[in-house]
């Protein structure tokens, strides 16, 4: 096979951020400015190389470019390799990740200015980008899993970046643990597939193993279990029900982090994983249905929750969950190219929204929408980009979000009407909560922001102003992408590239269904209109509505996030696990095991205490001992 891209280039993409991480960690801790620039430079270079790679891969119609593997280590039958795999899917992802990362880093230069952990921030960001790129490039499951975990750690470090805030530290831990819960499934899948198929190679699993299943030579159940393991990993990483609870909390991290990691890249890794193993999903009907329904439920549920949030970033977080759920059910119903497409468009408009939120908070010191309002005059650029992003998200033609969402809906209509309904409901809700945000944030009167905490950097929020150029330019670029990124779909080429990653080549095509377009647009517009009417025009008194007899229980349900967090944290972890199982074990350890050990010793000790009483210093006792001893010996002889 010819090599359109030299392997060195691919590895360079990966090692550039690695190098920047190492450089910052080792030498640039005390040179924040240099650290930031190093990162930006490294990622810019990586972005350029990614573009080059993508271009070359497009030239090959997205078919995988294989490189040799490199043995990392072996142990008996186990051989662990390192290798890169470039195909349409990963090339697209490379570009998405590096581009978003680049923009976010640039934005961060301004956003994080003055933070004590500036260098540390960029080190983590480099680490994250490197890990994410490694995850994308991985050609085998072990490597994929390794980077999967590294991405999680980078996320952990970044969520807990402001570790002095207890909430941030707790959120970081929660994020890692919840995702790791899902990772167990992935790990199990890795182990399972190796023990049954003896390979980690993604391509082999996708083609050979799936083919074997088709021939009945490989257990269908095993494959389903494997797929479920992957799904578990994806659910954790992509914050799907029921493991979604970490993502809203993860908003404690710096906003650029949320933009990069928790909207565009890492959370999309779950989708990427499933997309990578799309043939496996396809081969297992149960797994497909499972993920489809998980996605459908999550899409609507998260959108509902987004409606009641007052924290702008939490709205966006639930929105992310909801959108990722779209991707999930898209994969579940077989809309693989559409899912990747939406993944890409989402990776542009969602960071944009986050950056916008960051821009807002940059001047108001808060993410609480109840303290904002009327910012559209003070921050026109932010306002415009935010609206573009919201429209794109809401799926208004001709913005990027529309095209990708439309494709998913079309496929859903074709495959599963029920899920299609869920998708439509989510569309309406999405439009509603986004414009609720816009109304509350940018319209009406300014409600004063939040004065900065004494020990933190921050500005006086009484006079809101536009953010510096370092922040607005990336937003503008993203806004542009949020508009145009969807247009690549028209020729069907995008689908073709992406399909190139599959074992069987399949030409991509573009579809248009007016009915579905009308339905979704109508719902979106209705959502927008409703939000504007309620939150901007004050058509309905929201407080009164929420207190209304029928609505109140629903409101309470939503306000408590379906009681999921309580269930998980309070009941399962704190009560059942920490207060129950773990406590039992700890008590058992002290009261039973250690007590037994000490008891044996004490018994020996007491035996001595009593035993010595026999040595009462009396000659005659001792003499009796002689005869008793004789009797004992005699007894022994008689007995034995």
């Amino acid at each position: 096979m010819s090599e359109p891209v030299p392997e060195g280039i691919i590895w360079l993409i990966f090692f550039l951020p690695v190098a920047s991480f190492a450089a910052i960690a080792l030498w640039l801790r005390r040179a924040p400015r240099l650290a930031g620039l190093t990162t930006v430079f490294a990622i810019a270079l990586a972005f350029a190389l990614s573009l080059y790679t993508l271009a070359e891969v497009i030239g090959e119609n997205g078919v995988a470019v294989g490189f040799g593997t490199h043995e990392l280590f072996s142990a008996g039958g186990l051989i662990v390799n390192v290798g890169a795999r470039i195909d349409g899917l990963s090339a697209v992802m490379l570009v998405v990740v590096t581009s978003v990362s680049l923009l976010v880093q640039v934005y961060s230069l301004a956003y994080m200015r003055g933070d004590r952990g500036f260098s540390r921030y960029f080190a983590y960001m480099s680490l994250f980008t490197a890990a994410m790129l490694g995850l994308i490039l991985a050609d085998n499951l072990i490597m994929l899993f390794a980077f999967w975990e590294l991405v999680g750690i980078a996320s952990y470090l970044l969520i807990g970046f402001w570790f002095h805030r207890p909430a941030a530290a707790a959120a970081a831990k929660k994020a890692f643990l919840v995702t790791r819960f899902g990772d167990l499934g992935l790990l199990a899948a890795v182990i399972l597939i190796w023990s049954r198929a003896g390979t980690f190679d993604i391509a082999e699993i996708n083609s050979d193993v799936v083919a074997l299943v088709g021939l009945g030579l490989f257990g269908q159940t095993t494959l389903t279990l494997f797929a479920l393991g992957l799904i578990a990993g994806a659910i954790g990483k992509s914050a799907q029900f029921p493991l979604h609870i970490w993502l809203p909390d993860a908003m404690e991290g710096p906003t650029p982090v949320s933009a990069l990691i928790h909207s565009a890249t890492m959370v999309a890794a779950g989708v990427y994983l499933l997309a990578r193993f799309f043939p496996v999903l396809e081969a297992s009907a149960f797994a497909s249905d499972f993920i489809a329904w998980i996605g459908a439920v999550t899409a609507v549920g998260a959108a509902l929750l987004a409606v009641v949030q007052t924290d702008i970033k939490r709205v966006l977080a639930y929105s992310t969950i909801s959108q990722l759920a779209y991707l999930m059910f898209a994969l579940g119903i077989g809309a693989y190219p559409a899912a990747v497409f939406h993944l890409m468009t989402h990776a542009f408009f969602k960071p944009l929204l986050f950056l916008g939120a960051g821009s807002v908070s940059h001047t108001t010191n808060t993410f609480d929408m109840t303290k904002m309002g009327g910012l559209r005059r003070a921050m026109p650029l932010t306002y415009i980009t935010f609206v573009i992003g919201s429209l794109s998200l809401a799926g208004i033609i001709p913005l990027a979000g529309f095209w990708s969402k439309d494709e998913i809906l079309i496929d859903a209509w074709d495959h599963n009407k029920a899920i299609f309904i869920f998708g439509l409901i989510a569309v309406g809700l999405t439009a509603f909560y986004m414009f609720r945000v816009i109304s509350l944030t940018f319209h009406g009167d300014y409600r004063g922001g939040e004065p900065p905490a004494p020990d933190e950097h921050g500005v006086d929020p009484s006079h809101p102003h536009e953010s510096p150029r370092n922040m607005t330019v990336p937003m503008a670029i993203l806004a542009l992408m949020a508009v145009i990124a969807g247009w690549i779909t028209f020729g069907g080429e995008f689908q073709t590239w992406v399909n190139g990653a599959l074992p069987q080549f399949e030409e991509g095509h573009f579809e248009w269904r007016t009915g579905i377009f009308l339905a979704s647009t109508a719902l979106a517009v209705a959502g927008i209109g409703g939000a504007v009417l309620i939150y901007q025009r004050g058509l309905i008194d929201v407080a009164a509505l929420r207190a209304a007899p029928l609505v109140a229980p629903i409101d309470r349900l939503l306000a408590n996030k379906f009681y999921m967090d309580v269930l998980a944290e309070e009941l399962l972890v704190r009560r059942l696990f920490y207060g129950g199982g773990a406590r039992l074990a700890a008590v058992f350890d002290v009261q039973v095991i250690d007590a037994t050990v000490n008891g044996v010793w004490r018994a020996t000790f007491n035996l001595g205490r009593w035993g010595r009483l026999a040595q009462n210093g009396q000659v005659q006792t001792a003499a009796a001992g002689l005869f008793v001893g004789a009797a004992v010996i005699w007894g022994v002889v008689v007995i034995f």
Binding site: R612, L613, N616, G617, Q618, V619, Q620, A623, A624, F627
Partner: protein, 104 residues
Amino acid sequence: MTIALEEYLVVAAVLFGIGLYVALSKRNAIGVLMGIELMLNSVNLTLVAFSRFSESAVALSTQVFVVFIIAVAAAEVAVGLALAMVVYRNRHTVSIDEINLMKW
């Protein structure tokens, strides 16, 4: 019925038992020594009985043994009484049950 070895041995056994009882029960250390002497006498009786009855070459040996035992017994009593005197000098008692400064 013939008086033979067995009768002597039984007498010796009884004597040994009584000696044992005396040695184990008397309060006075000298009493204990008496018990020991009774036990040794029992041994002597046994040996002499064997010397008389046993059809083997040890008739002489046993008697020699008895001589040694008697000598040793005397020596033991001498040393024992000397020790008892020392104890008495220290403690004004030779009661065995009071001689238990060291125990446990």
